[in-house]
């Protein structure tokens, strides 16, 4: 009969999925053991197929039933050692189980789905020895009731089948009169009920007990016997059916011999005499014993003590001889061991683990809830009494209990990572077969637990990574042998706890990732420039793998490197708050390490505030916190192109003002662009946020504590609000929004590509020579548009006209504790008059070591342009020419000429000297700098000075170059902080070498602490220059060159 009601069906589907879950790994294990089968394991798979079959039959899912049945047959043969599970057979089984899983997934359509292919394959395996199966099924077992009457005779095979899947077999005695009619139930409903929780193996009405129409016995009892298989456990079974316990009997079948034997020791006597009810008639010893056991022995023990015999008798539908009863009762009470055994046995075959965990957890939760109630009472009392001390005490207790409660509840969400690990043996096995490789997969730490949501999100990225390892990492057996490795490759998938996080490692002993290949591919795809690539260290190169767009659509056979969907892997893991790290060594293998938080529901977060608003930033996204003191703001915050950047240890980090992105503050024209970042004290507080593959600085007003917050999802109305990941409720009851650092970057139109683009554009300027200029645009007189090359601009200051002082006929302003001479363009060039009123701009240049200012009118702007400069039409002193920008004729100021005209003596000396030096021969400067950006900048302006520049990206490269080209270099300019070999080491090498000790070394650095200076002096650094004070640097180079020449 079919009962396709949703709930039952759903239950079946869930149960089946559970069964299917572990089958793959079990089958693979069976395959590995080959002839030497592990019966337990085969039985487990068999049971799974069987209970799916049983349920399917019951629900009328005939296709599933048929397929499961065929699978079961094959497994049975394996179990009986009639069949050796070779890879072919296991393959057919795997495929059949796959199909079964598909059927389960499409349960409604399952009956129409085609399984013929699998059935044929399975049949071809079994066809050899079917008769034996039938022989087995002929064996019959008698099921007796407690009065030793044979109620049912069933095939042992059927009974065994029914019991598979951890089911219990019960013999139920219903009395249609007492148990159904008198309880106002209908027989049909009762049967429906019991069918929904188990399977009816056989059913029988005791017709003889009813009597005839004539005799008076009629309508006293109508006994209905049901042989019933259900996963419901004995101790709660009678409550479910609402049947007196005497009418339920647990039928126990022991399959394992050892248990039977131990039972025989207990019941041996009874079995011999045959008078016991515990032991059923068994027709064939080898087929296993059927031992029936009454579940209610314990209960009856009580019953005997209190002696409610009448009641027992009254509810007993089958007339029984009173003589037998006391005897049998007495018997059953005595062997208390058997009771214990009954309890233990089913527990082992059930999925008892989950149940046991849950119960203890529940108990723990109950305890904690109790604690909480107690604490609340304490608190209430303290409040009503106004006892402050007690309130504090209670508060502390509640704090304690709550965190424990939280932990306990989190545990209920935890799942072992094995749930996803278990599918990989199959994945790897199939891949290895396809690729013709030999791969061994080792799983470690399957029991490590993670939050449900993380486990779910982890599946895809892990599959990607494992596939990649098998596909690209592990070499073919021939290749491995040639390399002297074990032909069988190894992939280790490992999970472990570390520092409050869960680490997952995918480790292979394959060929490793070739960073250069990735770099080449990235360059080929136009994702990075060659210049950029040169500046990258090994780690950065490896991380290119995660760049979107690097993944190839080419077939996986294209073994040019990994990168199949690695960007997807990265973004998926980002979503889970995970971090990825790659380690690789050529021909040794690759390790990919993923760090994951234990849960997503509660996360440690940093609290920050802007104005009155508080925000939480997940701690995993916070790289570091920087407070730039008011006095250093000018030096540390710069404008590059149209982006504000923070200079942090030589790195440029784009800055975002949280208030600005979120529109919390209106920014007026302030005297300096850096001012908008300043918080109350004048310092700038920056959270360096890690947004996937790049970092940026988020400027906030205040930094607060790090706290654990409970994440509340935002309602769907806020779905389109980028920049927020959720909300949380703070201790004071106020809501704080959780910032999504990636979303914020997107809001600000900031991205790794964006930053890189800028650098790239700069490179372009260089490559195409004169055509490209980055111009700083300003106004002179109203309507008179001017521009200077941005590279030459040191700083831009917003001033008021009233700030200008005229001293000795020259204009100066107070600037950084000194006086800055300022000039107007009209002093040299024939241009319009600039009125000294209102807000003005001073463009600061550094000329030959002097800071000078050029007066201008706002607005100012910077833009990159490839316009051509007309050096004829408007050429005049101080003006290089003109160009058209934004449809306006713009004068391009020749700033050198301008200041030279004003102060010829500043330039004369060095310019002439450089010319002098040049006459003696070309001078080469070796420039060592790991940052692309700085290297390009510095190289450019040293070259502009008239020297040749050889660039090197780290000390090692520089040292190699020196050795290859002795006598070529005249001066070394080096960065300090560099990978591989830093500036100190390089200097030391140079100074200790007899060939090069004469070379002057200028250190170019943002590090200029006293210790560094001292250390530099010790290794022999000749001069220190702060990064990007170009005039000073040029002067220093000049000084060393002339010294040497002299």
């Amino acid at each position: 009969m079919t009962m396709l009601d949703d709930e039952t069906l759903q239950m079946y589907v869930e149960e089946s999925r559970e069964h299917l879950e572990s089958i793959e790994s079990d089958l693979l294990a069976i395959e590995q053991m080959g002839e030497d089968i592990d019966e337990e394991l085969v039985n487990k798979v068999f049971r799974a197929a069987h209970s799916m079959k049983g349920g399917a039959g019951f629900l009328g899912l005939n296709t599933i039933k048929e397929l499961a049945h065929k699978i079961e047959n094959v497994l049975d043969m394996i179990r009986n050692r009639e069949l050796v599970p070779n890879p072919e057979i296991v393959n057919i089984l795997l495929l059949a189980f796959d199909r079964l899983a598909e059927l389960i997934d499409n349960i409604q359509e399952s009956n129409e789905m085609d399984i013929s292919e699998h059935v044929t394959a399975l049949m071809s395996i079994t066809s050899g020895s079917l008769p034996e199966l039938e022989k087995e099924s002929v064996i019959e077992v008698e099921i007796k009731d407690r009065q030793d009457r044979v109620v049912f005779t069933v095939k042992e095979f059927d009974l065994n089948q029914a019991k598979k899947g951890g089911k219990f077999i019960y013999l139920l005695e219903f009395d249609l009169i007492h148990d159904i009619h008198k309880k106002d139930k209908q027989p049909y409903e009762v049967i429906k009920d019991i069918q929904s929780t188990g399977e009816i193996v056989d059913i029988k009405l005791d017709l003889d007990a009813v009597g005839t129409l004539e005799d008076g016995k009629f309508s006293n009892k109508i006994p209905l016997y049901v042989l019933y298989a259900s996963i419901i456990e004995p101790d709660i079974f009678n409550t479910l059916l609402n049947l007196p316990e005497e009418q339920i009997k647990l039928i126990e079948i022991d399959e394992s011999k050892s248990i039977v034997e131990s039972k025989e020791a207990d019941f041996g006597q009874r079995e011999d005499t045959g008078e016991t009810e515990e032991v059923m008639d068994i027709e064939e010893e080898e087929q296993g014993h059927l031992i029936e056991e009454e579940i209610e022995s314990r209960v009856r023990e009580q019953a005997v003590e209190s002696g409610p015999k009448e009641q027992v008798q009254a509810t007993r539908p089958v007339a029984s001889s009173p003589k037998v009863k006391p005897a049998s009762l007495a018997k059953k009470v005595s062997p208390s061991k058997s009771t214990v055994h009954t309890d233990a046995q089913p527990a082992a075959s059930m999925h008892a683990e989950t149940l046991r965990v849950h119960v203890s957890l529940l108990e723990n939760l109950m305890n904690l809830a109790g604690e909480l109630v107690l604490s609340r009472n304490q608190l209430m009392q303290a409040i009503s009494q106004g006892d402050e001390h007690e309130i504090l005490n209670a508060g502390q207790r509640i704090d304690l209990v709550t965190s424990e409660l939280q932990e306990a509840i989190m545990l209920t969400r935890m799942q072992p990572v094995g749930n996803i690990f278990n599918k990989f043996p199959r994945v790897v096995r199939d891949l290895a077969r396809d690729l013709g490789k030999e791969i061994e997969l080792i799983l470690e730490g399957k029991e490590v637990e993670l939050d449900k949501t993380i486990i779910e999100g982890l599946s895809d990225p892990l599959t990607h990574l494992v596939r990649n390892s098998a596909d690209h990492g592990i070499e073919s057996p021939e290749e491995r042998i040639a390399k002297g490795k074990n032909p069988t490759g190894k992939i280790i998938l490992k999970a472990y706890h570390a520092a409050g996080q869960v680490n997952i490692e995918i480790k292979d002993d394959g060929r490793g990732i070739d960073a250069e290949k990735i770099v080449n591919k990235a360059i080929e795809k136009g994702l990075i420039t060659e210049e950029q690539a040169k500046g990258m260290n090994e780690k950065e190169k490896l991380n290119l793998i995660f760049l979107p767009g690097l993944s190839t659509a080419e077939k996986i056979s294209d073994v040019s490197g990994r990168g199949v969907g690695m960007d997807v892997v990265k973004s998926n893991l980002d979503k889970l708050g995970g971090q990825v790290d790659i380690e690789t060594a050529k021909d040794k293998g690759t390790t990919i390490r993923i760090k994951l938080p234990l849960t997503l529901a509660i996360i440690p977060s940093l609290l920050v505030s802007v104005g009155e608003e508080r925000f939480a930033i997940p701690q995993v996204n916070v790289d570091e916190l920087i407070e730039v003191p008011a006095s250093q703001v000018e030096e540390r915050i710069e404008k590059v192109g149209d982006a504000d950047v923070l200079i942090l240890r030589g790195e440029l980090i784009p800055l975002l003002s949280l208030a600005e992105i979120l529109g919390l503050k209106e920014y007026k024209e302030e005297s300096s662009f850096a001012d908008k970042y300043k918080s109350k004290g004048g310092s700038v507080k920056v959270v360096i946020a890690q947004a996937g593959s790049f970092k940026y600085g988020l400027v906030v007003d205040q930094l607060h504590d790090s706290v654990e917050i409970v994440v509340k999802p935002l309602g769907r109305h806020f779905k389109n609000c980028q920049g927020y990941a959720g909300a949380t409720i703070m201790g004071d009851g106020k809501v704080a929004l959780i910032l999504d650092v990636v979303g914020l970057a997107r809001l600000a139109e900031l991205s790794a590509i964006n930053v890189e683009d800028k650098v790239e554009d700069r490179d372009k300027v260089e490559q195409t020579g004169e055509e490209y200029h980055t111009l700083f645009l300003f106004n002179n007189a109203p309507g008179e548009y001017c521009a200077v090359p941005l590279d030459l601009v040191a700083r831009v200051e917003l001033i008021k006209a009233s700030d200008i002082e005229v001293v000795g006929g020259k204009k100066v302003i107070q600037y950084r504790g000194g006086s800055l001479p300022i000039f107007a363009l009209e002093e040299v060039a024939n241009v319009g008059h600039l009125e000294l009123e209102g807000d003005l701009v001073v463009i600061v240049f550094v000329m030959s070591g002097h800071e000078v200012g050029l007066l201008a009118n706002p607005p100012v702007d910077a833009m990159e342009t490839n316009v051509k400069i007309d050096d004829f039409a408007l050429k005049q002193p101080g003006i290089a020419g003109s160009t058209i920008i934004n449809d306006r004729t713009t004068l391009v100021v020749d700033i050198f000429e301008f200041f030279e005209t004003l102060n010829p003596e500043w330039f004369k000396e060095r310019k002439e000297a450089v010319e002098e030096i040049k006459k003696e021969g070309e001078r080469k400067v070796l420039l060592v700098e790991d940052s692309d950006f700085f290297r390009n900048q510095v190289k450019k302006f040293i070259e502009a000075e008239g020297y040749k520049v050889v660039a090197a990206e780290d000390g090692q490269v520089a040292w190699d170059y020196l050795n290859e080209h002795p006598d070529e270099i005249s001066v070394v300019v080096t960065d300090i902080e560099m990978p591989n070999m830093d500036g100190f080491e390089l200097t030391k090498l140079i100074k200790e070498s007899p060939n090069f000790s004469h070379l002057p070394v200028i250190a170019l650095t943002s590090l200029a602490g006293e210790e560094d200076v001292e250390k530099g002096r010790q290794v022999g650094i000749d001069d220190y220059q702060i990064k990007l004070d170009k005039e000073k640097l040029l002067q220093s180079i000049y000084n060393f060159l002339t010294k040497k020449a002299a």
């Binding site: 017709l207 005839t212 109508i222």
Partner: protein, 93 residues
């Protein structure tokens, strides 16, 4: 072979409230060697007591060498009888 075949058309459900009435009705018809056919076309429901009556009828007939046959039973009733494996003893259609 039975000597006599009687068909009894049951009017109304075979339930506890009508038990005595139905019992009497059937008992009247039962005699030595009679094959009884119960026509259940007008019966929509049979409860526990009803099942008891039918079993008792079966038993009575059996002891007197007759047979019980049920015809025109609704699908529900047929299902119920089949589930209880009553169809092994009573010819039901």
């Amino acid at each position: 072979m039975a000597e006599q075949e009687i068909t009894l058309v049951m009017d109304g459900d075979i339930v506890a409230s009508r038990a005595q009435e139905v019992k009497d009705l059937i008992a009247e018809k039962i005699a030595e060697g009679v094959d009884l056919t119960l026509d259940l076309s007008n019966v929509s429901y049979v409860d526990s007591i009803g099942i008891g009556i039918i079993i008792a009828t079966h038993n009575s007939l059996k002891s007197s060498g007759g047979k019980l046959k049920i015809i025109n039973a609704s699908e529900d009733i047929q299902n119920l009888f089949k589930t209880m494996r009553l169809d092994k003893h009573i010819d039901i259609s």
